[in-house]
Subunit: 214 residues, 2 copies
DNA sequence: AAAATAATTTAGGCATACCTAAAAGAGGAG
DNA sequence: CTCCTCTTTTAGGTATGCCTAAATTATTTT
């Protein structure tokens, strides 16, 4: 297994390959490579027992592939927690470093890091950190965009996209921040919230990328 | 620059390529690859400006190559300190993990890690950690094998070889341990030392791999 | 100084992982 | 049900980084 193949497994997992058949094209788009290259690689991954490949119809992760991709997700998120908490990285900076570190993280290293970090349940963006056996701890969430005026809740998860994270950071929006919805403009208009005694105006799109306690 | 090429630079550095011309064969032996592969790779490394290549006579690191290999050594040793101090790794276990981590360590990450570790001067085996500009802090040392009976000193550096480290660990020999030489058998015979009130018998060869304050 | 030996490079191959272009298959619209 | 389109696969090519075997260059021995 190479970092390369690991990226395929991660992408397939992210696209829902734990349950559904995933189309070649979707993987090609996710990894920014040609569909031809994907076909070729999938044949190899099937030989290695990581995916179940139905030519012309897509692929699905095998139990081994699920386990492997969950471990990568786990490694990635543990490193993110470490970088943020202990090395002074910001929210928006941790992803890129973790992307490299996850591929050189032995089970032993992941376990030690997990213990060092006191077994965190979530990464800095609020995504659940799978346990060693691949299970994830799910808590009920809803999109901020789906809240009503006067509702109060707490921010639990945001989309991991660098520019968006900077957008949030500038507005002092963090995981764990509690807030109240002050107003919602119709037709996907901006949403105004009160957070830490300050009024913040969010675009509708931004509000779709923020998840809060249900 | 790939992890592969980085390993070449590290090997050349280790063999003395900062100052002398290093023979193709030595590099091939160090990396366990064929001399033919080394020739080929050196041509590439020269094109990239990392080595100065004199066909049939050997290679030397350029200033850029020196800088690069020092950074790798720095990354490696910083991770070793982290694994030992914070993740509960033992002396003999840190090297292998660091060997992978060093290649995915950005300058920013190295800097943050260095600060987190409070700017350590030495790795767990006593080797100096180069500063960002590649300079190393040298302290005068001698081999334990070159001491005389009744001499007292402190262990500062040991050879990084897994089996040897386990040998030392079993005998409770650590960096910073002070000891006195009790007896030395002639013709490269065993050397007995007193360390922490215990008598320890070291083979001559082992004593050659332990460095102490001069 | 010539011959033997050792080191190094070149030549030709192999595997990985990507690409483009062309062929083959799947699925929807008329 | 056939045609058209989109997706997927196959075919052929590139670059990396390794290999072995053969040719070349350097060194050591006689």
């Amino acid at each position: 297994m190479t970092p390369n193949k690991e990226d395929y497994l991660k992408a397939i997992n992210k696209l829902g390959g734990c349950d559904d058949l995933i189309a070649n094209k979707k993987i090609a788009d996710a990894l920014h490579i040609s569909p031809a290259s994907v076909s070729e690689m999938l044949t190899k991954l099937e030989k290695e027992g990581a995916v179940e490949y139905v030519p012309y119809h897509g692929i699905r992760l095998t139990p081994a592939g699920k386990q492997q991709s969950a471990a990568l997700l786990r490694n990635h998120r543990l490193w993110e927690v470490f970088l943020l908490r202990h090395l002074g990285y910001s929210w928006s900076e941790v992803h890129e470093e973790a992307e490299l570190l996850e591929h050189v993280t032995s089970p032993r290293l992941a376990q030690s890091l997990d213990a060092f970090l006191k077994h965190p349940d979530f990464c800095p963006h609020g995504a659940a950190i799978p346990s060693t056996d691949g299970k994830i701890k799910a808590i009920p969430l809803r999109k901020l965009a789906q809240m009503s005026v006067q509702d109060t809740s707490t921010i639990r998860k945001v989309t991991e996209e660098k520019e968006f994270l900077n957008y949030l950071q500038e507005r002092n929006i963090q995981i764990g921040s509690s807030f109240t919805v002050l107003s919602i403009e119709p037709y996907e208009g901006p949403i105004t919230i009160k957070l830490a005694d300050k009024q913040i105006v969010l675009s509708y799109k931004a509000a779709c990328h923020i998840e809060v306690d249900a």
